[in-house]
Amino acid sequence: MTKKVELLSPAGDLERLKIALLYGADAVYIGGREYSLRANANNFSLEEIKEATSFAHKLGKKVYLTLNIVFHNEDLEGVYEFIKEVVDAKIDAFIVSDPFLIRYIKENFNVEVHLSTQGSTTNKEAIRFWKKEKVDRVVLAREVSIKEIKEILDEVEIDLEVFIHGAMCTFYSGRCCLSNYFTNRDSNRGGCAQVCRFAFDIEGHEEKFTIATKDLNMAEYLDKLIDTGVKSLKIEGRMRSLYYLATVISSYRRLIDDYYNKTLTKEKIKKEEKILSRVANRETSTHYYMKQADYKDQYYTGRQELSNQDFLGLVLSYDKVDKIATLTQRNYFKENDEVEIFTPSGKTYSFTIDKVYDKDMNSIEVARHPEEIIKLKVDFPIEENSMMRVRIK
């Protein structure tokens, strides 16, 4: 049987990790409380890392830990002890950018090392270098094309990981310290302030000068990417919400499974693209994968990022006897709204809300308070951790 390409999800905390894995990710990447490039995400304590690996391994899935800051001298103290503790917590791989760590981990532990995209690896000769250094996997730079990926894999036997969805850096990863100069926050140590989303005045012209990029979305060309032989398809966003993760992972899970089942059709891709387009409210592009990125891959004026109101509630439980679903409310909904519930196992059910009740089964007609416990009459059984959203037609 063909081994499927890995679907790799971000997870900013334990709750997100569980959702990501339940919704179809094969592996997740997480950050510890130190040494990760998202210093301001919640991140994982050592105990949480243990819980994460235990949860994932029971499902036959993997957890990778980002250790990909660019170290300053002061960061070196304690890192070796931290690595040992994380290895003991049964992490499956470290994602690293500073080369001394690659050597240290490979010499001392039997654990995989993945070279971070911070390394901006763009060619087969650089990959040969890392292969000799015993790197198990290279996360390619976001500036390479599908053609170049194929060229690499035609000549070098190595696991490659590529981004398929999410926000893009304007600059080569690792080659940007805008944040350091604008805000004193160190972009290569996890403090990126996303200065590339700022607007500038430019001499001699009235229109604002912007450098922000559209998001990446490879749903349409996923088959071509899998055909290259890459081992892992990565979704960006350790700071993203539960709903975002569940939605994006579900869509790509279906696309990947359809690819291997030979049931992938243009209609199915269009449907998933529609779902994906609603979840982040940003325009998307394929950036460098299909051609050199150009002005159409950037934002200039008129961009609005509206907060997403689609996510209505997270299903906590379902009472099969009384046919009552219990949810925590996330956005306003009411009786007679057309909604759908999508489940961790990949099913989607559409229905019209009949009755809305509070936690004590008092009829309330409208659910208007975030995190409020709500009960709904639903005629079909629903898995725990399913999500209810506005119906996407």
């Binding site: 001298n73 500073d98 080369p99 270098f129 080569y172 350091n180 160190d186 140590r189 001499e203 200039y300």
Partner: protein
């Protein structure tokens, strides 16, 4: 400590040599990012032949793509036969090609913002990389500690507009295309929150520079590194020459109040020499 100049033109070499520059860094056509003064291999060979009294380094610091590898390999083989002192590299393809072809070509680790600790300096030194250009975002204390704990010969940039970022995207060109306007030059000043920044477009993409000139006159005597870099990009020739002269005098301790004079000429922007970056934002910040 050798004053090392990244000049805007080869015509400036003689003048800067006379003032005290002992080393120069030039770009190589097709393989450099952020270098105004670039040449072909033949031009570089001619430069080294005409200037045996200075050290000439070549910057091949762009990100390399598969299609460029054959030319890169040939170029490195040709450079081995020249009198250049070393090649500044960003992409690991260059180190791998040196190892693969057993080239006796000295390399300079120049991964702009990533040369920040002694362990990784030692890692590359053990791989045969003789020199490193330290990142502009580390403190003087960090520089001193790295110097103590590595045998790698070090460059530190002490004067010039600091580079902040480099993109493969042609951000200027894209802006003008999107706004249906004509781009009439490759360098523009952009502003945010009343601060100026410089954006420069070249064939390989766009670089953005901080809008204040780094003035490291005050740290020259405190650092024990082998090379200090002064970058002429965006700076008038006369101002640059005066600065170079003052820096030489500071190193030689031949002039009182030279630091104050340099401050008067350039301002007192010290980059990160005395300022640590932060990366965890406290709650409520």
């Amino acid at each position: 400590m050798k004053l090392t100049v990244i000049p805007n033109s080869i015509d400036h070499i003689e003048k800067y040599k006379k003032i005290g520059a002992k080393a120069f860094i030039f770009g190589l056509k097709g393989f450099s990012s952020g270098y105004i003064c670039t040449g072909t291999i033949d031009q570089i060979i001619e430069l080294t032949n005409r200037n045996p009294d200075i050290e000439i380094f070549i910057a091949m610091n762009k990100n390399i793509f598969n299609s460029e590898l054959p030319e890169l390999e040939n170029t490195l083989k040709k450079l081995e036969k020249t009198k250049i002192k070393g090649v500044l590299f960003y992409d690991l393809a260059i180190l791998n090609l040196k190892i693969k072809n057993n080239l006796s070509l000295d390399l300079v680790w120049n991964q702009t913002h990533m040369v920040t600790n002694y362990n990784s300096c030692n890692y590359y030194y053990e791989k045969g990389v003789k020199y490193g250009v330290l990142s502009g975002e580390i403190t003087l204390e960090e520089i001193k500690e790295i110097k103590k704990k590595t045998a790698m010969q070090l460059f530190v940039t002490v004067m010039g507009y600091p580079i902040m970022s480099f993109s493969r995207r042609t951000l200027l060109n894209n802006y003008f295309l999107a706004n249906h306007k004509k781009k009439d030059k490759d360098t523009y000043i952009i502003k945010n929150n009343n601060e100026d920044y410089i954006i420069e477009e070249e064939d390989n993409g766009d670089a953005i520079y901080y809008g204040k000139i780094l003035n490291g006159s005050i740290v020259l005597k405190e650092m024990d590194v082998e090379y200090v870099i002064l970058n002429e990009f965006g700076i008038e020739e006369e101002l640059f020459a005066k600065t170079l002269s003052l820096y030489q005098k500071i190193i030689d301790e031949k002039k009182e109040h030279a630091i104050e004079e340099a401050d008067h000429l350039l301002g007192t922007y010290r980059g990160f020499f005395f300022q640590k970056t932060i990366y965890k934002v406290k709650k409520n910040d």
